[in-house]
């Protein structure tokens, strides 16, 4: 599955590259060097984000965090879960693995939803490393503000529906 996703990204890149090539050699060459330079400039950050998040995650008291948002922790648990999610470092697996472990250990589904969604939306280290350097800061802060209610809305939806 992951190869399919990687592949699709490159299919799009190559497709756009061919269109650029058909416009003119110069458009193609300029875009490739611009894109490659951007990638090179991001490398130290990615290194820090990917390699560093393992160490930060190793320090999180994962079992204790799961206990904080147990099935009977209610709205307080949702609040704690959302805060815990945003201090969990980014990277593709950390939040999901902690969330899944908490669910197995008896955490409530709405709380786990609040946790993984807050992690996906606000993991602080992702905001600082990848988002702020790449996008206009105004856009980043508006995004964070506009997403603030989402973990709570989803958790509430789950509470009301009784699902998952």
């Amino acid at each position: 599955m992951i190869y399919f996703v990687d592949g699709l990204l490159w299919v799009i890149a190559i497709g756009l590259g061919l269109i650029a090539m058909s416009r003119s050699r110069k458009v193609f060459r300029d875009s490739v060097s611009e894109g490659a330079m951007d990638c090179v400039r991001l490398i130290p950050r990615i290194m820090l984000g990917v390699i560093g998040s393992g160490y930060i995650a190793a320090l999180l008291p994962q079992e204790v965090m799961g206990n904080w948002f147990g099935a009977d922790s209610g709205v307080t648990g949702i609040l704690i879960a959302a805060v815990a999610g945003s201090i969990t470092p980014g990277g593709p697996v950390v939040g999901f693995s902690i969330g899944a472990a908490a669910l197995k250990g008896g955490a409530g589904a709405p709380q786990v939803l609040a946790y993984t969604i807050a992690w996906a939306l606000f993991a602080w280290q992702r905001v600082f490393l990848w988002e702020l350097p790449v996008m206009p800061p105004r856009l980043v802060w508006i995004r964070v503000a506009a997403s603030l209610p989402i973990p709570f809305l989803v958790a509430l939806g789950a509470l009301l529906l009784g699902k998952p």
């Binding site: 990204l9 490659a36 990638c39 999901f96 939306l121 280290q125 600082f128 856009l139 529906l161 998952p164």
Partner: protein, 186 residues
């Protein structure tokens, strides 16, 4: 923004204070892990994450290339019409759909979103796009979430999260409007 307005690009510096802050947190965490759990654990995390880094690198290159091509190829009037400031609710819905089908990892979405914002996509639409990718992107769901949580959990989560990008886009538009009015009032 007139179509001929110059591209506003965020200059990407190789390092800055926000990276330095994360760097400091990483160095401190790594030192604590080394001291608390020993060298074996320290190296285990290092090697695991170096593998992940090598895996991510080609995706980031592809995303940066896509962003660079989008910036020169995408006709500005198309972007303005479909996801520009006047695009209304439809623009936010289009951006949400684009986020669902856009492939790639967490780092790849931001350069692409920034490229669209630079050529005239509205704040609300750009934020709906990022939020939709984050919450509903199929790539992330299939590759990372499903193995951890299983089908039923992911199905219900997705269903409940479905309207959220539109909500975030509309709220972002309201905040951006308020921000602009406050700036104008100063």
């Amino acid at each position: 923004m007139p179509p001929e307005a110059p591209l506003k690009r965020v200059k990407r510096k190789a390092f800055d204070w926000s990276s330095a802050a994360v760097g400091l947190a990483v160095v401190v965490s790594a030192a604590v892990v080394y001291w608390r759990d020993g060298q074996a654990k320290f190296l285990e995390i290092l090697f695991g994450d170096v593998g992940l880094f090598i895996d991510i690198l080609p995706k980031v290159l592809a995303a940066c290339l896509i962003a660079a091509f989008v910036a020169v190829l995408m006709p500005r009037e198309v972007v303005l019409r479909w996801v520009g400031a006047e695009s209304g609710l439809l623009g936010i819905v289009i951006a949400t759909l684009a986020g669902i089908i856009c492939p790639g990892g967490p780092i790849t979405i931001f350069p692409i979103a920034a490229a669209f914002a630079a050529i005239g996509a509205d704040t609300g639409a750009t934020i709906a796009f990022i939020t939709s990718w984050t919450l509903l992107g199929y790539a992330r769901m299939l590759v990372w979430e499903l193995p951890f949580f299983g089908g039923e959990f992911v199905f219900w989560r997705t269903l409940i999260a479905l309207p959220m990008p539109i909500f975030a886009g509309l709220l972002a538009r309201a905040i951006a409007g308020w921000w602009a009015r406050r700036k104008a009032g100063e």
